[in-house]
């Protein structure tokens, strides 16, 4: 049997073991064999890798990549962007009636132009309104998400069949649920797989923030006042800031745990000449 440690054998040749040349030749053969075997294995692996992956950049087969996950990530991003806009613009994607304060436009949720009168709640059922706003805002994005998903899988050699899409957004305690349904069929050599539910939940305190905001608005519209400091005392998880500016009240409701902030304005019982 060849000894792998040929160099140590060579150092022993003075002890009368085989000449270096003979040991080397015998060692060489073994090595070559080994190298050949290893080489074959390597080539086979490479070939096998390319054969199996088939396409740019993918290290996993489509059967391991769920289109649902693909879409969910995409939808989550879109919804989070919408939520950020909603929080910033007082319940709307684009604020409609605002006051400029500290360089920002603060959206009115309760407003009356006249002095001394309590305001009108101009955005009733705020949760439902926000749900609609998000639905409208993400509509195009949802389509884009599915388009990207389809392209991705088609590039991998799948046939993608899609049905009609239906979706809704629900503001729920602690999260926003997107109920997204679309029939998607992936057909490939390994078979056909169907997907329908692309719903996703995005953690967000917006539902709870809106509850607090509604309390404030209802207080302002009925009493021209909201005892925000007492509210914060009883519910310390919310920080409520208020500034009086130009006969309006600028409110900011902050969820202490997440840092999310809902900004809006109210004009009620203005003591204007």
């Amino acid at each position: 049997m060849c000894r792998v440690d040929a160099w140590s054998s060579w150092w022993r040749h003075n002890d009368g073991i085989y000449k270096y040349e003979n040991v080397g030749i015998k060692m060489k053969r073994g090595q070559v064999t080994i190298f050949i075997i290893v080489g074959i294995l390597l080539v086979a692996s490479v070939l096998g890798f390319f054969f199996l992956t088939e396409g740019e950049g993918g290290f996993l087969s489509p059967s391991d990549l769920s289109p649902q996950e693909f879409v969910k990530v995409c939808v989550r991003e879109a919804v989070e962007e919408s939520i950020d806009k909603i929080l910033l613009n007082g319940g709307e994607i684009e604020a409609s009636k605002t006051i400029l304060y500290k360089g920002e436009e603060w959206n009115y949720l309760c407003y009356i132009n006249e002095s001394y009168y309590p305001c009108y709640n101009i955005h009733p059922l705020l949760e439902l309104q926000i749900e609609r706003e998000i639905e409208e805002d993400i509509e195009d994005e949802l389509g884009d998400c599915f388009d990207k998903m389809r392209e991705s899988f088609e590039d991998e050699g799948f046939d993608v069949d899609e049905g009609a899409m239906s979706y809704s957004v629900d503001l729920l305690p602690g999260h926003v649920a997107v109920n997204l349904k679309k029939s998607v069929e992936l057909s490939g050599e390994t078979g056909t797989r169907s997907f329908e539910d692309f719903g996703v939940e995005i953690m967000s305190p917006i539902y709870d923030l809106v509850r607090v905001v509604r309390e404030i608005v209802n207080g302002e519209t009925e009493y021209c006042h909201f005892n925000y400091d007492t509210y914060s005392f009883v519910y310390p998880e919310y920080e409520i800031q208020r500034a009086d500016y130009d006969y309006s009240k600028i409110y900011s409701v902050i969820d202490r745990r997440s840092g999310s902030e809902f900004k809006f304005a109210v004009r009620s019982c203005a003591f204007e000449w």
Partner: protein, 1222 residues
């Protein structure tokens, strides 16, 4: 024969002489008696000539800018033509506007307030499924269900306590269903919503929820309530922690901590993420501490009730009520021994004083109350919120005040806790009370009002109702500045110091109001002035003083009567807050009761207002002045008449005695004239007159008789006596004893010149700057970068240039033009040439190239000495003024030396005090000529054709004529001389008491009861002339008075009957129907009685008056009172009970008959059942019908959970009945 002739002629002469003597005796005495009058008459003749300026000072200063004392701030009044517009052109919704400002297709209701229209009515918008109910929503904004009830008193809107595992939430049942479903609590179970628990109870209920370890398959564990565990399908171990060795779960002890929602403390957390016991550094490795839920008393720091373990490194037993709450140690840079959370101290330290979390207190910019609030100041409310001092400024311009209470009464025990609130400042009502009958009486009990007693002199004292905390005015907004000028003008008053010559001396003695010549006058008047608002001599928040008043003596500024420097220093001290001073918490209970707001009132202190003993109202407070005026008036008018008729001519042929009598008369007049020349007192005048008469008599006697050379010893004796008397008389001087008019002119406050203090507004982050605050610091201060993050108070750029003046072309009276316009002035001329007609209101103005304060006068003098403000005491761009000019000929006859040509010298200074070069001259001339126009009646009070009360028997009529006149009235249209009734016209020339002219008064008697009364009034001008030289109305001014057909009555008040409701609170609409009476009906209501009525917001045009209340169940009594414009009123009352049926349906009988169950209830209801449990979602239950009797099929062995809801929505939180079918 010759002797007989001599005797006969002597008899005749004697007879004539005796007759003359007798006549002369009377005449002589008459003249002696009138010596005072003659003295003053002669003085009037030779009276100093007045210039136009002096005329102006007497008239325009006191009347042009004189405030109308009745200033109302009713927000419910509408200008004619205005109404409610749904959408205006500037996209405002539901606001009051003119019709042409309303979008074409938008609904518009003229004469109505928006609250009374259907299209702007507020209602409730709701979504029953989600349990959301929003108040005060327009129907167009609601995309779901909308009802007219703005308070959302609907069954589904009732709030109750929703149990969500270990937490609770005070919300509607619908919301509870959503939350329960989401938290998987309602998956198979029901919704635990408890209607009978209030918010405080709900909060406490959370602490009572029993939690424990819920062991799931595979050794997983969650620390939840039993109910939640049941839903998870796990095994519940109450009071066990998931790390309990007995439970053998996969959860292990850790050294981590966390905050837990709904709880104050810092909790250990196990490896599964479940909370364990309160963080205690000494027990982190204690297995027993990780076994069971620890008892409260066994927790660390449980005895720290004052600090709540705030800032403890070792213990996490926080307590928000004791002053601590769980918070991140990393964020707060706190070194806690174990974990990342600690108990953060939630108390606050503010200016060396500690405040507990939740406490709030008031902070002020200076002294407050008693009219001492300084310009630019506002009240502030500071709150300690979780360790951070948060500032809540009360409304600017002091429209809100901050009140503070330091203790609360809790079950009879006084608990120290500082609480404050910003409440509305009732300052408007205080001002309005001055124009009401018994206003000062009402002032005593009015909120935030006080009675200010101005007591300067014997006849110059009055009480006035003023705000405790006077409001501020915008220092840049024109409309506000106009209102400010009017309001401050109330403080412009004149005190007349009355003097007369000393009887036995050469000087004058004061008869009335001498003290008005002291500094007390300015001090008291300035306090009055400051008490109205931002008026007069006052300081701003940094203590900078600004004068803003004027004291004149007979029309000329007299700085010796101004406030002393020590007094001004006292005013400057007002800019420093007074330690311990707070706005008084007044007695609101009366008003709360009247408004029907039930519930415990906050701690109330009785008002500490002092009421003066003198309860003169404002009008009668001027009585001292009126008396002084009557002194002035009666002397001169009477004297003039006597002068013209008093002179006797010398008649030839009279005997010596007749001559003596005549001589005596002449001598007396001579003596009087001499006395006047020497300025003697009345006593001295009399002596001179008598002495002169004696001399004159002797001279006359001898002069007409034997001749002056024949004066014998007796005659010489008389002459000597006469001379002695005259010499004695000359020793008693009188001097000039005219009345002195001291006027205090109260002006709107103006900021000091320049902008050196602007940046002081930005110094304190706890007192954010505002426009009002900034502008009060200097005339050049303005708020910059408005709306940006860099909003700051700064000084306007000083361009170093003087303001440039030009005519205000868009403001000019009709028929007048700006003529000869140049850089140095212009003329005001009629467009057709010539001069301006007298008594024509002349309106014109000047525009400056930058904000400037403009003044003018009739003499070119320095800016400070210019007597009049052009456009007001403010920095403006447009400076407008209006006044009317009298007929120069009228003035001349009254001693005024004025030909009708007039020049106004105008100067303006910008905000940095830079004056325009030279004077800007405005020239005009007034037509002088023969007055051929009769007086015109320009105003009547009450207005012509106005309604008076049904039972009113007389009308106090006041008319105003454009020139001084005397007037008469009759019920027949006849010439003035035949009119039976003469009006009282007390004004004198140059001193009209109305801004439009001269006032005459009379009482019109309304005889028999009828609906229309017509009176004819005629006047004649120039009362100082003979009738033949005067102009009388050839046609009568017709004045009509009407009565309503009937007195105002209240036809109905609703609701008037009891009714049932399904909610705790009910929206009730009070509806009052009125009829009869005048054209405007205003109603008010009260829940406590007629003493304190609350006015409805309305315009007066409606006959149906409504008001919406939010009332709890119970008995209600509402008092109503309705009044029309005549003052007639009617009262009514309504009583009703709101019955709240809160009882749930009860089972009367239940039995099973084979496979059917029969159920009978005590009231009609809808019933449903579930097989899963009592807390099922109502909509998901199986219906078994509606009514009082039910029958439904059952399956043997199954358990039925039945609930029933009556028509009012009353349903038990649990089951009505549970039965197992047999």
């Amino acid at each position: 024969m010759e002797t007989k002739k001599k005797v006969r002629s002597r008899k005749v002469v004697a007879g004539v002489e005796m007759m003359l003597m007798m006549v002369s005796l009377f005449a002589f005495c008459y003249f002696i008696g009138l010596s005072d009058v003659v003295f003053s008459l002669v003085s009037a003749e030779e009276e100093e000539e007045f210039s136009f300026e002096e005329w102006w000072n007497r008239t325009q200063r006191s009347h042009l800018f004189r405030n109308e004392t009745r200033t109302t701030y009713e927000i419910s009044s509408l200008a004619e033509g205005f109404g409610c517009c749904f959408i205006s052109k500037d996209e405002q919704r539901c606001g009051t506007s003119a019709p042409d400002n309303c979008v074409a297709d938008s609904p518009f209701a003229e004469g109505l307030l928006c609250k009374d229209t259907a299209f702007c009515r507020k209602g409730c918008c709701y979504d029953e499924a989600s349990g959301i109910y929003d108040r005060n929503v327009l129907s167009v904004d609601c995309l779901t269900e909308w009802v007219k009830d703005p308070n959302c008193n609907l069954p589904g809107a009732a709030l109750g306590c929703c149990i969500l595992g270990a937490e609770t939430s005070y919300e509607t049942e619908g919301q509870c269903q959503v939350d329960s479903f989401v938290l998987a609590l309602g998956d198979s179970g029901g919704v635990d919503w408890r209607k009978d628990v209030n918010e405080a109870g709900c909060f406490l209920l959370a602490t009572e929820q029993k939690e424990g370890a819920c062991v799931l398959e595979g050794g997983a564990c969650k620390f939840v309530t039993g109910e939640s565990c049941h839903n998870y399908g796990g095994d519940f171990f109450e009071d066990y922690l998931c790390t309990s060795p007995e439970l053998n779960t996969s959860c292990e002890m850790t050294r981590q901590t966390q905050c837990v929602d709904g709880k104050d403390g810092v909790y250990f957390v196990d490896s599964c993420g479940n909370p364990a016991n309160i963080y205690n550094v000494w027990k982190v490795d204690d297995v027993d501490y990780w076994d069971r839920v620890a008892e409260l008393e066994d927790l660390c720091g449980s005895r720290d009730i004052d600090g709540g373990n705030a800032n403890s490194e070792e213990c996490g037993n926080c307590n928000r009520f004791a002053g601590s709450i769980c918070s991140s140690a990393d964020e707060d840079n706190f070194n806690v021994d174990i974990g990342d959370f600690y108990c953060r101290d939630t108390s606050c330290l503010f200016k060396g004083e500690s405040y507990r979390n939740g406490e709030s207190w008031c902070v002020y910019d200076g002294a407050i109350g008693e009219g001492n609030d300084v310009v630019g100041s506002r009240h502030w409310r500071y709150v300690c919120s979780q360790g951070v001092v948060v500032v809540e400024p009360c409304a600017d311009y002091r429209n809100q005040i901050c009140i503070q209470a330091d203790e609360f009464d809790v079950n009879g025990k006084s608990v120290p806790f500082r609480d404050s609130a910003c409440v509305a400042n009732n300052w408007r009502e205080c001002i309005n009370l001055n124009s009401e009958e018994d206003g000062t009486t009402a002032c005593e009990s009015a909120l935030n009002c006080r009675i200010e007693t101005v007591d300067v002199a014997d006849y110059f004292e009055f009480d006035i109702c003023l705000p405790q905390y006077p409001a501020g005015f915008s220092l840049s907004e024109e409309r506000s500045m106009t209102t400010a000028s009017k309001l401050c003008g109330m403080g412009t008053q004149t005190c007349t110091v009355v003097r007369e010559g000393e009887k036995w001396g050469r000087g004058c003695e004061y008869v009335a109001n001498e003290d008005c010549l002291t500094s007390v006058f300015a001090e008291e008047m300035n306090d009055f002035c400051r008490g109205l608002g931002d008026c007069g001599g006052s300081v701003n928040i940094v203590g900078e003083y600004s004068e803003n008043y004027d004291v004149t003596k007979d029309g000329v500024t007299d700085s010796s009567l101004f406030l002393s420097s020590s007094w001004v220093d006292k005013l400057k001290d007002l800019a420093k807050p007074v330690p311990g001073q707070f706005a008084e918490v007044e007695n609101y209970s009366v008003f709360l009761e009247a408004a029907g707001i039930w519930g415990p009132s906050t701690s109330l202190n009785a008002s500490a207002d002092d009421t003066g003993d003198k309860m003169q109202d404002f009008a009668s407070g001027l009585s001292g002045v009126s008396m002084a005026i009557s002194f002035l008036t009666s002397g001169s008018v009477l004297g003039m008449t006597v002068i013209e008729g008093g002179l006797l001519g010398s008649s030839p042929g009279l005997s010596a005695f007749g001559g003596a009598a005549m001589g005596a008369s002449i001598g007396m007049l001579v003596g009087t004239m001499l006395a006047n020349y020497l300025e003697l007192s009345p006593g001295g005048t009399m002596l001179m007159a008598v002495g002169g008469a004696l001399i004159g008599a002797v001279v006359g006697w001898y002069g007409l008789g034997a001749g002056l050379a024949s004066i014998g010893p007796v005659g010489w004796a008389i002459i000597i006596i006469g001379v002695i008397l005259m010499i004695l008389g000359s020793l008693f001087g009188a001097g000039d004893c005219d009345d002195i008019e001291i006027e205090f002119e109260c002006k709107a406050w103006e900021a000091p010149v320049g902008g050196a203090d602007c940046e002081k507004c930005n110094d304190d982050p706890l007192k954010p700057c505002s426009e009002y605050r900034c502008e009060s610091l200097g005339a050049a201060c303005e708020l910059m970068n408005v709306g940006t993050d860099n909003e700051l108070c700064g000084a306007m750029e000083d361009d170093g240039k003087a303001p440039v003046l030009s005519p205000q072309y868009d403001v000019i009276s009709d028929g007048i033009i700006y003529d000869d316009v140049s850089s140095s002035g212009f003329s005001l001329n009629p467009s057709g040439g010539g001069c301006i007609d007298a008594y024509t209101p002349l309106m014109f103005g000047v525009v400056t190239s930058e904000l400037a304060h403009c003044k003018f006068d009739f003499e070119a003098t320095d800016f400070e000495s210019l007597g009049q403000d052009l456009g007001g005491n403010a920095y403006l761009i447009n400076h407008t003024t209006v006044f009317s000019l009298p007929d120069p000929s009228h003035g001349q006859s009254q001693g005024y030396n004025w030909t009708g040509d007039l020049s106004l010298f105008v100067r303006c200074q910008d905000v940095y005090g830079i004056l325009n070069d030279g004077f800007y001259e405005i020239e005009m001339c007034v037509n002088e000529g023969e007055d051929i126009s009769a007086p015109r009646v320009v105003k009547t009070t009450p207005k012509n054709d106005e309604l008076v009360g049904v039972v009113v028997g007389e009308v106090e009529l006041e008319i105003v004529t454009n020139e001084l006149a005397t007037c008469w009235w009759s019920e027949r249209d006849i010439i003035h001389s035949e009119m039976e009734n003469e009006m009282y016209c007390g004004d004198s020339f140059g001193a009209p008491s109305d801004v439009l002219g001269y006032v005459c008064n009379s009482t019109l008697l309304l005889g028999e009861q009828r609906q229309n009364y017509t009176y004819y009034i005629r006047c004649g001008d120039q009362p100082w002339l003979n009738d033949s030289e005067r102009n009388f109305n050839l046609r009568s001014f017709v004045y009509e008075v009407r009565r309503p057909e009937s007195v105002i009555v209240i036809d109905s008040v609703e609701p008037g009957t009891d009714f049932q409701t399904s909610t705790d609170m009910t929206t009730v609409e009070l509806r009052i129907a009125t009829s009869g009476g005048g054209e405007e009906h205003f109603c008010s209501y009260s829940f406590s009685g007629y003493e304190n009525m609350i006015e409805l917001f309305e315009t007066g045009g409606n006959r149906m008056h409504t008001q919406i209340f939010n009332r709890p169940a119970g008995r209600n009594e509402i008092f109503v009172e309705c009044e029309d414009e005549t003052g007639d009123f009617a009262r009514g009352v309504t009583e009703f009970e709101i019955i709240h049926d809160s009882s749930i349906p009860q089972v009367s009988r239940i039995w099973q008959d084979q496979s059917f169950v029969n159920l009978i209830l005590n009231e009609g209801a809808e019933c449903k059942y579930s097989l899963d449990g009592c807390k099922f979602v109502w909509d998901e239950g199986v219906s078994i019908g509606e009514g009082k009797e039910f029958e439904f099929g059952v399956v043997k062995g199954k358990k039925y959970f039945i609930r029933c809801k009556d028509v009012h929505g009353n349903v038990p939180s649990g089951c009505l009945v549970e039965l197992v079918a047999t």
